[in-house]
Amino acid sequence: MYKKLSPDVIFSVRRVTNLIGLRMKMKEKFLNAVDMHQGIIHKILSVYTHNEEERKDLLQEIMLQLWNSFPSFSERSAFSTWMFKVALNTALLHKRKKRNETHAREVIAENLSSQMGIDKKDIIISLYMAIDQLGPIDKAIALLYLEQKNYQEIEEIMGMNKNNVGVRISRIKEKIKKIFEYEQQF
């Protein structure tokens, strides 16, 4: 009654289902890894965006870039290091829209937990505002330093000259400290 499928057809169907299965497994693995390290994304968003709309756009872009380049992720390096590379690069190249400086404080405050005390919130906001005063590359280096990445990792992520990393970090630290103290006065 039913025509028997040829071995070629069976092979192709198996291949397709295997590929779908592999893709689903890969997606699951990807979502779990991102879920575990999502703090990195939120910190990058807080540093590189200035309003909710921009935040949503960049979040979407980072997720898409991470997913598109996930097949190229080699497990020789840590997932967080690879994630930093892709997410920072996306943030650096992302189209910037109208910047609303006065709104920046409020946006950061809204994104922080409502259970947190006002004093603590203010300190965190001041720190974010201090980082915000830096240029795009300095912001990236500051983020990596604050995430306590060592010099070698920063070098690996940024592709910077070895001698530059130390000098650059100490300058950024000084800048952040100065601006942070100034910000805290408000």
């Binding site: 979502l31 991102v34 879920d35 999502q38 703090g39 939120h42 910190k43 807080s46 756009d57 979040l59 979407q60 872009e61 997720m63 898409l64 870039q65 997913w67 598109n68 380049s69 190229s72 590379k85 892709v86 920072l88 690069n89 996306t90 650096l92 190249l93 992302h94 189209k95 910037r96 910047r99 809204e110 994104n111 922080l112 937990s113 947190m116 603590k120 300190i123 965190i124 720190l127 974010y128 830096l134 240029g135 795009p136 590359i137 300095d138 990236a140 604050l146 995430e147 690996e156 992520i157 940024m158 592709g159 910077m160 000259n161 530059n164 000098v167 650059r168 300058r171 630290k173 400290k177």
Partner: protein, 247 residues
């Protein structure tokens, strides 16, 4: 003094560590949110250019069919046959260019390396194709204008003729103007991108540079908007003059 500075460093690191744990629950990503984000389209510069190139290639294919149709209705008119053939070849050649450019952009999307190498790769790609991008997009405007003029002559005079009088001359002038206008619009789009990427790359190399790149970019954007507006106003004025002159 030194230990005071170290303590401040540690304080900042502690504050930062806290910042990561104090995110509003609404901002937290769950798997459903992540899946929704993955189903959306990229708004990134290269992805935008890729979509533009794909749409442009489809547009060219449509116009090639248009030229074939026009030529089919004017088999005895050597001028139409010659012009259509040139336009079809030009269209086909630039469709191939579109494909090469899209492949190049796909390669850019492969993240293998560090931020410096991403930037270098991007700069190299855009520098290599600094004329190709605007050229291939400009050709579409050129083809559209030629096809549009042919259709206009066919409908108005029932025939397509080579340049004979002032009206034909004005049509040719407008063809040159619109082609140049299109190139002038597209070209800075890519040069400003290279400038921005180059500044970021320089910033990685030179710690002493003042990081005002975004501000610079904004000023350039404003300049671009002003130039574009002036060109549009000039175009509209020229078109109005032409319409008044004809009727």
């Amino acid at each position: 003094m030194n230990s005071n500075s170290e303590n401040k460093d540690k304080d900042i690191l502690k504050i930062w560590a806290k910042a990561g744990k104090t995110l509003n629950s609404q901002q937290q990503l769950n798997k459903e949110k992540m899946e929704t984000l993955l189903s959306k389209t990229s708004t990134e510069f290269s992805s935008g250019i890729k979509r533009l190139l794909k749409a442009d290639a489809i547009f060219k294919v449509v116009m090639i069919f248009g030229f074939i149709t026009i030529a089919a209705f004017n088999l005895n008119n050597l001028f139409v046959l010659g012009t259509s053939l040139v336009c079809i070849i030009l269209g086909a050649m630039t469709i191939k260019q579109n494909r090469i450019l899209i492949e190049g952009l796909n390669e850019l999307a492969e993240y293998k390396g560090n931020i410096r190498s991403f930037l270098e790769k991007d700069i190299m790609y855009y520098k290599r194709n600094i004329f190709r991008h605007p050229f291939t997009l400009t050709i579409s405007v050129f083809l559209f204008y030629v096809l549009g003029s042919m259709v206009y002559y066919e409908i108005k005079y029932d025939t397509i003729r080579p340049i004979q009088d002032l009206e034909d001359g004005v049509v040719v002038l407008f063809l040159i103007f619109s082609t140049l206008f299109s190139f002038v619009i597209y070209y800075p789009y890519f040069t400003s991108r290279i400038d921005y990427l180059q500044k970021l790359l320089n910033d990685i190399d030179h710690a002493d540079l003042i990081n005002n790149h975004i501000k610079d970019n904004k000023i350039k954007k404003r300049k671009k908007i002003i130039i574009t507006s002036i060109l549009i106003i000039l175009g509209v004025l020229a078109l109005t003059t032409l319409i008044i002159a004809i009727f």
